[in-house]
Symmetry: C2
Subunit: 241 residues, 2 copies
Amino acid sequence: MGESKVEAVIWAREPKPARGPQPAYSLDQISDAAIRIADSDGLDALTMRRLAAEIGAGVMSLYRYVSGRTDIIDLMSDRVLREIELKPYEDWRSGLQWLAQTTREHIHRHPWLVHLPGNAAPFGPHGLALTEHVMGIMDGLGLNIDEMMTSVGLVSGYVSSSVQSEIATRERLRQVGMTMEDWMRVNAPYIRKLLDSGKYPMMERIIIDARWPHMDPEEAFDYGLQRVLSGIAATVEGSSG
Amino acid sequence: MGESKVEAVIWAREPKPARGPQPAYSLDQISDAAIRIADSDGLDALTMRRLAAEIGAGVMSLYRYVSGRTDIIDLMSDRVLREIELKPYEDWRSGLQWLAQTTREHIHRHPWLVHLPGNAAPFGPHGLALTEHVMGIMDGLGLNIDEMMTSVGLVSGYVSSSVQSEIATRERLRQVGMTMEDWMRVNAPYIRKLLDSGKYPMMERIIIDARWPHMDPEEAFDYGLQRVLSGIAATVEGSSG
DNA sequence: AGTAACTGGGTACGCCGTACGCAAGTAGTT
DNA sequence: AACTACTTGCGTACGGCGTACCCAGTTACT
């Protein structure tokens, strides 16, 4: 019976019982280089060859440090979390507001995060610390652990999906090498045909409105966030009061 | 100065002024085959070669119908929406609840949707129809178009991210070819080390709790959904009342 | 009958992730 | 000091990917 080889999360890998030469690189160095590439040219541009070149190593040397590309992405997603400084909070509402604002800026700083489910591998050191911090926000309010997680998840989820939609179009255009003007010019006839058909009154209002938007992105983000927080408030005040 | 060729959304492509032989395949046939593959083996398994084989065509024949792989994914994401039957709603709350429930089932039926920003290309025929329908839910309540979109987006976003987290782990394990038991066995020492360090009390509660979960997935989903709806209710009743 | 516009699809290119193996370097043992 | 065990960096090579290019065959218009 051949056992397939299963591998643990990268942070759980055992340190080598040093015998041979000292490693020339480090995990931090590798993930920093990877982050640099993904930040400037997107996740697709992060190839093993490019990464190796960035740090001046041979391609296969990388595999002495990680077991594959997914490991690198795990490392990156945890390492960027180091930039988030865990501020103390006055109450749950301002705590969650801080979480939302911070996470939003974080993802905008590293847009490739939108491609990772949950925006991070949750078991790295910084991820763990962050989880502790944000769960603390909802602690002591009379909620059980499920409710606490759901509340935090509600906010994280809201941030993820709203930032995702802020970024999506831009990202997509870049992949195809178009500008927004290119897209508009080339699709204008189709859009016009749709609107002129009269079958899509809502779409029409959306598009017309998009030209004189009532809300800028920040405002829209905050509007939605307040809705989410209100929804949570109902539970919290119901439990503690 | 050479113009780079920019291409319109696939549904906007002009029909050919028929001269040569009749096409042997159709866009619907192609996207149905693609959906079949992605449903059973995931988006990564959906390669041009595999797709061509599935419909019994040559690989390059596909490029007579679409301009590349991304087109195919656009087609798929719109075509699956055909399965969603647009039910009339009694009031906005039950309308949004229907939207959430339906979308959740939809994504579970086609898990590869979680990899698409916004879960769909918004300009296909079914996507447009769906947009009309769900925007109608929030119409006539005294909200402006921005507020309407945000409300709907809040629900869609919630569904996306909660289903995403339901699916994420499973998906990730499959990619590496592990089972949940494999993962647990291989990472148990690491997790234990973390918990024994005493530095992660929240994580500890989460993990302990995960063994006797208070809520099953449906219940957790509905709990979160009610929070979102409550948040929206504040605005709606504030505007119309 | 001739030609223009289409079709399906074979071949080939450049990219990707990574398995394997080898020479060189270092620490522990004798 | 010599040997051995184990590490290191990394070149080569393989299979698979998306797709550019080309060509032969088919159809409709002139």
